[in-house]
Symmetry: C2
Subunit: 188 residues, 2 copies
Amino acid sequence: MKRHIHTSLVAALLIVPSALIAQKTEEPAPDSKPADSDPSHAKIPDGYRDWRLISVAREEGKIDDIRAVLGNDIAIKAYREGTLPFPDGAVIARIAWSLVPSEENNKAFGQAQSFVPGAPKNGVQFMFKDARKYAATGGWAYAQFGEADGKPVVDEAKLSACFTCHQPAAARDFIFTRYSLSGLAGQK
Amino acid sequence: MKRHIHTSLVAALLIVPSALIAQKTEEPAPDSKPADSDPSHAKIPDGYRDWRLISVAREEGKIDDIRAVLGNDIAIKAYREGTLPFPDGAVIARIAWSLVPSEENNKAFGQAQSFVPGAPKNGVQFMFKDARKYAATGGWAYAQFGEADGKPVVDEAKLSACFTCHQPAAARDFIFTRYSLSGLAGQK
């Protein structure tokens, strides 16, 4: 179950429970106002598909996808400067696709070797950094949106699994994905 | 040999031979001035690592890498609007890495399934569009820079293989890679 739930090491299915957020509002607001009524982390960030590339990965097993991890400007800057923990406002996105053979490519290569993205898969996931607001979950809110309907996945049963799984990366502020350099000197 | 040379379907090792370029200079310049003496396509474009993501892929076989394909603003705009052929100034970049198991991720997942980028591999490749200047090779110049030394790969023997291999994608202006949507409505 844990494996099924945790469809990404980058950002899993956790939506911070409103109960936790209510304890961590920016202002000492009255508890009667649920902080999760319109939480920024439950919205798809505008223009995230244009964010810069952090890295890529291939997940086999039940997840079975190829994925790209993108970061907003705050996240990219922190990655490149080695800033830990990530500053508030950093957002990391994970897009994934099924991995399918490319007949066209294979024909050009003369052998079966090429796999390319098929349909979007496993939703689009985000991690939103706010050290205070999401202190109960390491300073990050986790969110996932269905690739078919764009709706946020909210399932209390999935909440604890995400933060738990990310514990091994605690020393890197709970982020598994490392920035992938191109190898060219002077090129980030 | 062809397979070895052609380390990418996106952009292979072709550097347009100076002889061809001399026939296709912007101005009817004297042949005595080699157009390839300082060709833009033999320079690594500034800031290419910040370009937006077109797609990703996995190549097995001898190539054996995971790769990301990025585009400059002109290329991305053309992809999204379905503009063919690509306008002059479009540049497409291909970065690749070895694909290695992530022990850290696998431990978190509880099984071996996660593969992440290792060292940069197979150079960094570009395709530069200039319909007139590179008319002899379909309007594109192909370039590759070594991931270790950043030096352009120039090998006359590799020139014809690139353009030849890209022929099957002639209907898409010789570009194999398709733009990968995230799946979220309203998100490019």
